[in-house]
Amino acid sequence: MQKTPAPRPFCFTGSGSEYCQLWLTNIALSLLTMGIYSAWAKVRRLKYFYNNTRLDGAVFDYHARPIDILRGRALAMPMLVLAGLADLMSPFFSIAIFLAVVPWMAVESLRFNAAHTTYRGLRFRFVGSMGEGYRVMSLGFLGVLLSVGILYPRWRYRMTCFVYNNLRYADYEFECQSPLRAFVGTYYLCSAWMMLGLLVGALISVALGVFSAQPDVALVSFWGVFYGLGVMGAASFIAVRNRNLLFSHLCMVPPMGDDRHRFLSAYELGSYFRLKLVNLLSIVLTLGLFRPFAAVRNARYQAENTAWLLHLNLGYARSVDSDMTSAFGAEATDGAGWDVGL
């Protein structure tokens, strides 16, 4: 008899108050060292979040060496400054630089960060080629520009597939099988809702114009709030639907055989929207100090609503690294990419 998959929920054990201290000391030290400490700060931050993410009795970890991150950032800084100056000259230059450089940075970052992320002592890998990265990101972006945005949902779909289809965990491969139609359909559905929203907004505006004592003030305040909530609502709608879609069609393919590990995502629009709204208002009201708490809340939501559907027929994962010569794997992953801050 086929064994049914055993759900293993993710669990985030971190707390806002603990992370708050880490976050503050990170910022303080980064400012005091003119940004040099930011590489160490990044490692500490990711270790905090990864070590607090439990799955099936074990936790994740991040193993990058801060010095490698520093090297990547030292390279990225002048490029960003150049891009900023180019933007002053003409927006054409900055788009050109964007198309030429961002795919490289993105692929390198994916390689670096995947290689330094571990679960149960085994590493992830990103095997996407630079060429494919350029095709998907730059050519795709050009397509979006030329189509005046119509091809945007399709571009997002391609980028998501590019990331997940090229992700590996030990000897397992990830496969993203989300249907294009459903993914793109989310955007169209969202647009339809937004148009309905605009109609409702227009009706309310008319009512305000007629009945309000100070129509100008009332209209500006109403539209300010309505627009803000509308944008957040739209973003949440797309995020929730497409995230659920992505994870329910994501699987881990073993080196041999037909069985797969799968995933479950139970994001829900109401709770997600509330999460984002409370985060936003709290961050603004506390002049930014709520950020660490917001980050922890996000991580907790993500974990609570995601589960791994472990296929019990499948055995353990095995490392594919041929030789791990050093204690901390640093030499083994040298040249596994640059972290350029994405």
């Binding site: 905090y48 607090n52 970890d61 000259m89 149960r120 961050i283 095995r318």
Partner: protein, 342 residues
């Protein structure tokens, strides 16, 4: 160096870095080395090959072992005792230490406020002055053409009058080598503006409104001040830096939340630019033997509702949004400049 370790063995989860399966091992200290006893044969590891991770309250304490292996310890108290016996550092505990949090918070707040109010303007000012004039000329070469298509029309002043004004200004301030354009603009009313490429546009209405040619010269001198101090470039740089800092702090929570403080700060920096331009005009006029009172007189003539440039004396919240300081403030400063000896 190592104490006599007589406590019970500590349980830990061991991952060998080759297979994802974890096994429970019992850790103890034997002759200054760590002994791992599990289902297979016992391993002994010397402290120098172990790397202890940062201790987080709610996450397992991680010890990295050679060849990609790792230990995850749930019992922090026992682990601390064990590590002390090995002579290994206990790893920076995060925990909640109010003193550190408060100190970090104060430091970060002070630095941020300083950066936004003094640091960024200073950087923008210095960078703007250093960028060669040719580069600023590249900024918005089409601005005049765009204005000619929208709000400006050909001037109704005769050529002789225009040339007389140009010559007069060239006498006053020969170093500026200012290019002055005259235009008729019903929409802008009596107004003058400095363009990004270093030229100045004066409207016919302003020429007609002036009681004396000196007043026109005063206004042109004010605009020349904007050009000499590179206010356009400075504003661009300041705007981008401010927006970047505010976004970094408030995070990618929402572009809207980040935009408001940026706008407020940018407007404030712009008011300072106006004061600088007023002072420059006062200086130029005095050097030519004219009185800064001419500028004050002209400003008083120009009616607020007519122009883009001047703010009213409206003492409400909108003062913070105005990019120009209130009229009475400017008049007061000009009177002081007129009275000053230099």
């Amino acid at each position: 160096m190592s104490e006599t370790y007589t406590a019970l063995p500590v349980a830990a989860l061991f991952f060998d870095g080759r297979v994802s399966a974890g096994q429970t091992v019992w850790l103890s200290v034997e002759a200054g080395a760590l002994r791992l006893e599990g289902t297979g044969e016992a391993q002994v590891l010397t402290p120098d090959v172990l790397r202890v991770g940062e201790r987080f309250c709610t996450a397992p304490w991680v010890i990295d072992c050679p060849d990609g292996a790792r230990l995850e310890l749930a019992d922090h108290a026992a682990a601390e005792h064990l590590l002390a016996a090995l002579g290994l550092g206990a790893g920076r505990g995060v925990g909640a230490r109010p003193v550190v949090v408060v100190a970090a918070l104060l430091l970060v707040s002070l630095i941020t406020v300083w950066a936004l109010t003094s640091g960024v303007p200073w950087v923008a000012r210095e960078v703007a002055l250093v960028v060669p004039a040719r580069a600023t000329q590249a900024l918005g070469p089409g601005v005049l053409e765009a204005l000619d298509r929208s709000v400006l029309q050909p001037t109704t002043l005769d050529e002789a009058h225009q040339q007389a004004l140009r010559d007069r200004y060239a006498q006053l301030d020969p170093d500026a080598r200012l290019v002055i354009y005259f235009r008729h603009s019903p929409r802008l009313g009596a107004n003058a503006m400095a363009l990004p490429d270093g030229s100045v546009v004066v409207t016919d209405a302003l020429v007609r409104l002036a009681g004396h040619d000196d007043e026109i010269m005063a206004v042109i001198a004010h605009e020349a001040g904007h050009i000499a101090h590179r206010h356009h470039l400075r504003a661009l740089i300041q705007g981008s830096l401010t927006a970047t800092l505010v976004t970094l702090w408030l995070g990618d929570v929402s572009a809207l939340a980040a935009a408001v403080p940026s706008v407020l700060l940018t407007q404030r920096h712009s008011r300072e630019a106006e004061h600088e331009a007023d002072l420059h005009a006062a200086h130029v006029l005095k050097a030519a033997g004219l009185s800064p009172e001419s500028l004050a007189a002209m400003l008083s003539r120009i009616e607020p509702k007519d122009t883009l440039d001047l703010a009213t004396d409206d003492p409400t919240f909108t003062r913070y949004l105005d990019s120009h300081p209130g009229l009475s403030q400017r008049l007061e400063r000009l009177q002081r400049a007129a009275a000053a000896p230099h």
